[in-house]
Symmetry: C2
Subunit: 326 residues, 2 copies
């Protein structure tokens, strides 16, 4: 039986891991946060009242395989750059919205989409409850809505508590997947808006404690002024541990130098490479390596969301992850 790998996070980072892993004979499940509230996804969420679809759409595209997969990927990721009311909308989001309306449930919609587009693997929301993300900052300020968190106006301040409004319980299929997993990958992805929004759902912590899966955490390449300013690699791992209730078994950290011209781009947004301060006695296996994607990410026209310029290298991540299964 193929080994079961569960990838937990949001859209962009999980897609990187999944698109590397889809080339291996493993059983893949993506579990995604459902707190996204910005951009095309946010508009659809407000107008249709469904769960946010953007992260699921990115995972769908990453799981497309076979001879038509390039077109399927392009189709799912296509963003309209004109058209009254269409501009900025993502076609994959519109497809998932229509399928949710047709099939009356978000998990069913994404399951049907996976069948229509012949995808390898499954995608599950961490909860089926319609929730908003809520962050309490060190200065006592509370902000509601994922797209409001990670804004420069909160920049530099530490998030001391992350929760959802209302509280929500883990989706039973996500629970089953975590319990059955051999390996669970957390990240890469924005700590407070992609990874932790999964871990704070009721029942997730307990499910992780019951699961025999090894947990891999992939540290972010760069800090972000809106949420992880000044957080070192060790700080990242500690935040994961604090919300998860246990240490990861493996931590992957990129140690390849980021090219100067990319650093300059990030500097404008007050983003810096995550500082490697992990040393001494640690209770997990640290794997440092070259996990950097060579190419810069060009943001498509019409995309209004904050996105990274850099990505992890999906092939190298996948190779390392697969080696941990042995």
């Amino acid at each position: 039986m193929p080994k079961k790998i569960v990838v937990i996070g949001g859209g962009t980072g999980s897609a990187v891991v999944l698109s590397g892993l889809r080339e291996y004979p493993v059983d893949l499940t993506a579990i995604v946060a459902v707190t996204d509230s910005g951009g095309s996804t946010g508009r659809l969420r407000t107008e249709f009242g469904f769960l946010p679809v953007g992260d699921m759409r990115q995972c769908l595209a990453a799981l497309a395989k076979g001879n038509k997969s390039e077109y399927i990927r392009k189709l799912l990721l296509y963003r309209f750059d004109k058209g009254k009311g269409l501009e900025g909308h993502n076609l994959g989001n519109l497809i998932l919205t229509a399928l949710t309306d047709i099939s009356s449930s978000e998990p069913k919609a994404v399951e049907v989409a996976a069948q229509i587009f012949r995808l390898e693997g499954r995608i599950l929301p961490i909860t089926t409850k319609n929730i908003q993300l809520m962050a309490v900052y060190e200065n006592g300020k509370t902000v509601i809505g994922e797209h409001e968190i990670d804004e420069p106006k909160q920049g530099g301040k530490r998030i001391i508590k992350l929760l959802t409004k209302p509280e929500a319980v883990i989706y039973k299929e996500a629970k089953k997947a975590i319990l059955a997993a051999d390996l669970i990958i957390l990240g890469p992805g924005d700590l407070y808006t992609s990874i932790l929004p999964n871990l704070i759902i009721n029942g997730v912590r307990k499910t992780f404690l019951l699961s025999k899966a090894k947990v891999v955490y992939i540290v972010n390449l760069m800090t972000r002024f809106g949420q992880t300013h000044n957080l070192s690699a060790n700080d990242h791992v500690q935040e994961i541990e604090r919300y998860l209730g246990k240490k990861p078994d493996f931590v992957l950290f990129n140690n390849r130098k980021i090219p100067e011209k990319i650093l300059q781009l990030y500097k404008k947004e007050k983003g810096f490479p995550t500082k490697d301060d992990i040393k001494g006695k640690i209770h997990y296996k640290l794997i440092r390596g070259d996990f950097l994607a060579p190419e810069l990410v060009i943001k498509p026209k019409g995309d209004v969301k904050k996105r990274s310029f850099l990505r992890h290298n999906s092939k190298k991540l996948a190779k390392t992850i697969i080696s941990l299964l042995k």
Copy 2:
């Protein structure tokens, strides 16, 4: 080798024929008019400058086959009934628009869509030129734009000349399909806005003369005040002959009585059953029969276009058409 059937028309009527024929082991090609300029299609046409996609989308949905086809059909035909700027748009139209943008050509877009959605058969535009339909009425008035023709304000007046602006030449693949066909089906569909917009394209008439295919014309169930008011069955056939340059080999005519309550619905729009006045010596085989679909068509919310309440029966049409192959 399976027999080659080419279905020529627009969206709704061709979809009825195709969805019946897809159950038989025949090689299906749909050739569609590209003069649609109303509704969701018209909006996209104006904003993106591509060929109209609505008729192709209906044919795509009709050709979906296999165990996921019900969902694929629902997905392609889904119409948004809310969402700023989305309302009234058809998801299949958005998919074809995105694929046209991605693949840089409308024929390629519909070919890719056919592969992604695993369809049986091909769909070809009659021309790849971006054209508008133009009608000259008996009172000398000229109207440009398909959605302007068939409006009550032109009601009751005969169209004496139908042309396109600018002129356009038949798409080479459509030409090949007509030449290779064993049987060509014209209709059912609106005479002046679905069927004849194909026949008036330069090269079509000549291609028909060169083709050895038998031609079947399916007479409309009802007349429409905007374009075929007072036209009898014989008038319909004569118009086809006038534009095609030859008589059809077979004419299919429904002789089942239309239920009174449906007649009342049509009466409000000044639509009446097409009068059967075909008698005496005719140079084609007339097949009268029960070709009526039992169910009334419910127009989806958000659909602003004129559509018929009645359809032909796709199974009965297909059975009769297949019998003509022998």
